[in-house]
């Protein structure tokens, strides 16, 4: 039976970095993974990662896997066994794994378990129908094997995985009919949510799936609003025509092997469920067994990699007596910094139960969106949620973006230094930066939008400019398309200057006409037809089509309508009449006026 100084079980980000670190410190180790390639969940992550630039921020997940794979293959201290499924950990530090239909046994001095997590299930009627998938399964099918399992998707859960999956599905050219979220706020990062909202995907908060519909496979889903006890509210049911339902309601650690290895396990919901008890250096209650990654707490790849490194360094220190305390403490500090932001409050609370306390950095600075000097080509950074990421600061060649000590702070742009190079636009993992330049004289604005869909529009092409909800704002002409090696290309469009603060996305014109006035359901083509028939006065257009006459009083669409009228007639918006504002500014019930509230 072969024996190793250390065996690492699980070749995801934590395990790979663990093995590399062990190898670099001279610890001979065996890395076991049940898949045929290393990388774990990274191989299906086509999006760029957040984080510290020193830790692969703004690199796409599968590219991180490739980089780590290369490092492993270059390190002679690491032996890799893929397609190796560990079936159990037996007495006398014996690991049994299956490979190619044969049984293998190895022993270890130290064990690093990085088995990760699996997707949680959600019980609902007909959840056994073909067409109900876990989000990870869809990502594997789509991003690893190039198979898209449906045409119209409903996603359950608005955590980062659900949000990212929605984006990837749209990139793959299929439709996402919506994301339902049981609680009253979006679970994942705001930038991920904004990315899909501006592609027109609705996120329905306080909603759940009631049942899947279908005989042989999914042909629809019934969703409903839920009350504060998560019970569906009768009468709010709504049917969505979808052929695939992706459940993405969170992950739970795979702690079985750790239990078999003699680690104490505790149920800590903030960390994802049953997790091995461990100290700051990732050592479990069995001093020979270490853990890292999602097995220790459900987070993301960056923290998993740092944990893998900490665990490996500690193993190396114990085995070799190497004097690397300082290095370990540095990594612990870095990890704490990652977890010091408001989005990590849950993790901090969970770790508290192990006596690991991380100070939430109180002075995380949050800044609103800066507009910058009108007329200059510049970056507009719409990143107002504190998440641990500094890629924009790191890539800016002119030091024009400042985040500061704590990478949870939001970026501040120094517009004196910003040259409009757009390097940050293509680097930002959240696609939260776009370019803007107004031409006041010509009443036009140039907007540079990060674009990760195919095909790319071409120069001179007529597009639809969209707002943050993916709704049509105005027509746009493509002025320039700049391709970047990282595949986050930038499409520069020209739009009327009035919409320079509204437009955040661009799409090819659709045959179906978009609603301009959602209250009265008036489409773009209806408005254009009316204008073409000679109705060129906004007031007449309004009366004929009912546009702007609904409950919102035109707050949402009046400017859009004026923009269409201006485009069709050549009269600048400022010269068009825009109607009279009448009370009530917001609709009020008759009952308001049946009782006079004035003091007598």
């Amino acid at each position: 039976m072969k024996s190793y100084e250390t065996v690492v079980i699980g070749g995801g980000p934590a395990g790979m970095v663990g093995a590399i670190t062990l190898g670099s410190k001279g610890v001979k180790n065996l890395l076991l993974d049940e898949n045929d390639t290393l990388g774990g969940q990274l191989v299906k992550q086509t999006h760029k990662f957040f984080g510290d630039h020193a830790h692969y921020a703004s690199v796409r997940g599968f590219e991180i896997a490739q980089k780590l794979q290369k490092k492993i293959s270059q390190n002679s201290n690491i032996k890799v066994e893929t397609s190796a499924t560990v079936i159990g950990i037996y007495p006398n530090k014996t690991i049994v794994y299956a490979k190619n239909g044969k049984e293998f046994k190895v022993t270890y001095e130290k064990l690093l378990i990085t088995t990760g997590a699996m997707e949680k299930q959600l019980p609902f009627i007909n959840s056994d129908l073909p067409g109900v998938y876990g989000a990870g399964a869809v990502q594997t099918l789509m991003n690893e094997y190039g198979v898209i399992p449906g045409k119209r998707f409903l996603i359950i859960g608005s955590g980062n995985i659900g949000l990212i999956l929605a984006y990837q599905l749209i990139q793959a050219g299929v439709e996402v009919r919506g994301i339902v979220e049981a609680i009253g706020k979006i679970g994942g990062y705001a930038v991920h949510a904004k990315k899909i909202k501006r592609l027109g995907v609705p996120i329905l908060l306080n909603h759940t799936i009631v049942k899947a519909i279908g005989d042989e496979s999914v042909s629809g889903a019934v969703i409903a609003k839920i009350d504060d006890k998560f019970k569906p509210i009768p009468g709010t049911e709504e049917e969505k025509v979808v052929d695939t339902i992706c459940v993405s309601v969170g992950l739970t650690p795979l702690s079985e092997l750790a239990e078999q290895a003699g680690c104490e396990v505790e149920y800590i919901p903030q960390l994802g469920g049953y997790v091995p008890v461990r100290n700051e250096k990732m050592q479990t209650t069995n001093p020979d067994v270490f853990i890292a990654g999602d097995l220790s707490s459900i987070e993301e790849a960056t923290t998993a990699m740092i944990e893998g490194k900490i665990a490996a360094l500690e193993i190396a220190r114990i085995l070799n007596g190497a004097n690397i305390e300082n290095e370990i403490n540095e990594e612990i500090k870095t990890l704490s910094l990652f977890r010091s932001g408001p989005k990590s409050a849950k993790i901090r609370a969970g770790l508290e139960k192990f006596g690991i306390s991380i100070e939430a950095v109180p002075n995380v600075e949050s800044h609103g969106v800066q507009i910058g000097p009108v007329g200059k080509l510049r970056a507009i950074v719409d990143c107002t949620e504190e998440i641990p990421c500094n890629s924009c600061e790191a890539v800016c060649p002119f030091e024009a973006i400042h985040i500061g000590e704590n990478l949870n702070s939001t970026p501040v742009v120094d517009y004196d230094k910003c040259t409009g190079c757009a390097t940050c636009v293509t680097a930002c993992p959240g696609l939260a930066i776009h370019m803007l330049k107004e031409d006041v004289e010509k009443s036009k604005a140039l907007v540079g939008i990060p674009y990760e869909l195919l095909p790319l529009p071409e120069k001179g092409e007529k597009m639809w400019a969209l707002n943050e909800d993916g709704n049509y704002v105005c027509d746009a002409i493509v002025k320039r398309v700049v391709k970047y090696p990282n595949k986050t290309n930038i499409v520069y469009i020209e739009i009327p200057i009035e919409f320079s603060r509204k437009v955040i996305n661009v799409e090819f014109p659709k045959e179906e006409s978009p609603f301009v006035c959602r209250c009265e359901e008036v489409t773009l083509s209806e408005i254009e037809r009316a204008i073409d028939s000679g109705i060129v006065d906004f007031e007449e257009l309004k009366r004929l089509t009912r546009v702007t006459m609904g409950p919102c009083g035109g707050k949402n669409c009046k400017l859009v309508v004026l923009g269409i009228l201006s485009r069709k007639t050549g009269v600048p918006i400022s010269k068009l009449s825009r109607g009279t504002s009448r009370p009530p500014v917001k609709p009020v019930e008759f009952s308001l006026f049946t009782k006079n509230g004035d003091p007598k």
């Binding site: 028939s533 000679g534 109705i535 006065d537 007031e539 007449e540 009366r543 004929l544 009912r546 006459m549 609904g550 409950p551 009083g553 009449s577 009279t580 009448r582 009370p583 009530p584 609709p587 009020v588 019930e589 008759f590 009952s591 308001l592 006026f593 049946t594 006079n596």
Partner: protein, 380 residues
């Protein structure tokens, strides 16, 4: 803009455009319409949209009945769906005296050929179970009354006359009317001068002012009437309902919203088109009382428009005595929209034949005010 017009029509509201439409149908060329703002910017675009034949004056009944005939053909005649529905009119009576008056009206209206009947409280309750009929003794009901979208009707006429060759000048105001020896020779507008011998005053809220431009003192004045619209809900109410006692009218549009209004106690005179919160405070309790389901209905918008009022609340359609070929169709007192198709036809006939042929409207002449004034009562 043409420099010489066969007829100049002042006012691009429902009356002016209906007259132009009928002239174009007669083949009259070089008709020019001047509208100082946009189409439906005046009273037409602000009105309740009711189409009623139940009047107390036989002349109004006849004009309205002819209009209904034309409204029924409007879509094919003029070329646009104007949300016309013959949902009826329900007029509510609360006292024995009112019932007696309603009986007399029904008798007269039936003699004019109108299908109208008196309903008891119970009959009304059966038809409209969602209404609170507390205090209602009865009412009158005419199933061929109805309502339509006045704004679209006005735009429909405007688009039709442009297609038929009429020159429609919006955002063009008339500044003066030139006369010589009791004859019209031209009109000065904000966009230029046009020679003409025939002018029609269809200026609605501004009829008196336009009259004075040719030295004709038309006894009309304007007063503000307020109106509101609610959110759109499922269809429940077919007819226009009027309560003179509670001082309101209400209808549900084909679009689903409810449109309603009243006569204010001291309406602002002139063309003040502002709005007051008192209007909402007065409307809300009575509407919620009579239509309890409205309690949680949302008010979306309030606005106002001018009634161009004549001394007997009936229109004045005539040619001026002192200025030949100066014709006016004014003073509709809040009922111009519903009479417009018939008035357009009559005025076009006056211009082409010298008198209206389809209907005898001689008793709508201005000279009637020299005698005792017989006022139309059914006005909200």
């Amino acid at each position: 803009m043409i420099s010489e017009a066969s007829v100049v029509i002042i006012g691009g509201g429902i009356i002016g455009t209906s007259i132009a439409f009928n002239l174009a149908k007669f083949g009259v060329k070089n008709v020019s319409v001047f509208e100082k703002s946009y189409i439906s910017s005046g009273s037409t675009g602000r009105c309740g949209g009711g189409i009623r034949q139940q009047w107390t004056s036989p002349m109004n009944v006849r004009l309205a009945m002819r209009s209904v005939e034309l409204f029924e053909r409007f879509k094919s005649d003029v070329g646009m769906d104007i949300e016309y529905i013959e949902g009826g009119y329900l007029l509510l009576a609360y006292t024995d005296k009112e019932i007696e008056e309603f009986k007399r009206n029904v008798k007269m209206q039936r003699e004019e050929g109108l299908n109208v009947e008196l309903l008891t409280n119970r009959q009304i309750a059966k038809k409209f179970p969602f209404m609170n009929l507390e205090g209602v003794k009865g009412g009158t009901w005419c199933p061929t009354d109805g309502h339509a979208n006045p704004q679209i009707a006005n735009i429909a006429y405007a688009m039709a006359i442009k297609r038929m060759g009429v020159e429609l000048n919006t955002h063009t105001s008339v500044e003066s009317i030139d006369t010589q020896n009791g004859k019209i020779i031209g009109v000065q507008t904000s966009k230029g001068y046009v020679k003409t011998n025939v002018v029609v005053n269809a200026a609605g809220g501004f009829s008196h002012e336009i009259g004075l431009m040719a030295g004709v003192d038309i006894p009309t004045y304007s007063e503000r009437h307020q109106i509101l619209v609610t959110e759109s809900v499922n269809h429940i109410l077919d007819p226009m309902v009027i309560s003179f006692q509670n001082n309101y009218y209400v209808r549900q549009t084909m679009h689903g919203s409810f449109v309603m209004g009243q006569s204010d106690k001291n309406p602002a005179k002139g063309n003040d088109l502002g709005h007051t919160v008192e209007f909402l405070e007065e409307m809300a309790p009575k509407m919620v009382h009579d239509f309890p389901f409205m309690k949680h209905l949302h008010i979306v918008r309030q606005w106002s428009g001018a009634y161009n009022v004549s001394p007997d609340a009936q229109p004045i359609i005539d040619e001026a005595r002192n200025v030949s070929r100066y014709i006016f169709a004014v003073g509709f007192s809040g009922h111009g929209f519903m009479l417009a198709p018939a008035v357009g036809e009559a005025v076009a006939e006056m211009i082409v034949y010298g008198r209206s042929k389809t209907m005898n409207i001689s008793n709508l002449g201005i000279s009637r005010f020299e005698n005792k004034i017989e006022k139309e009562h059914n006005v909200v």
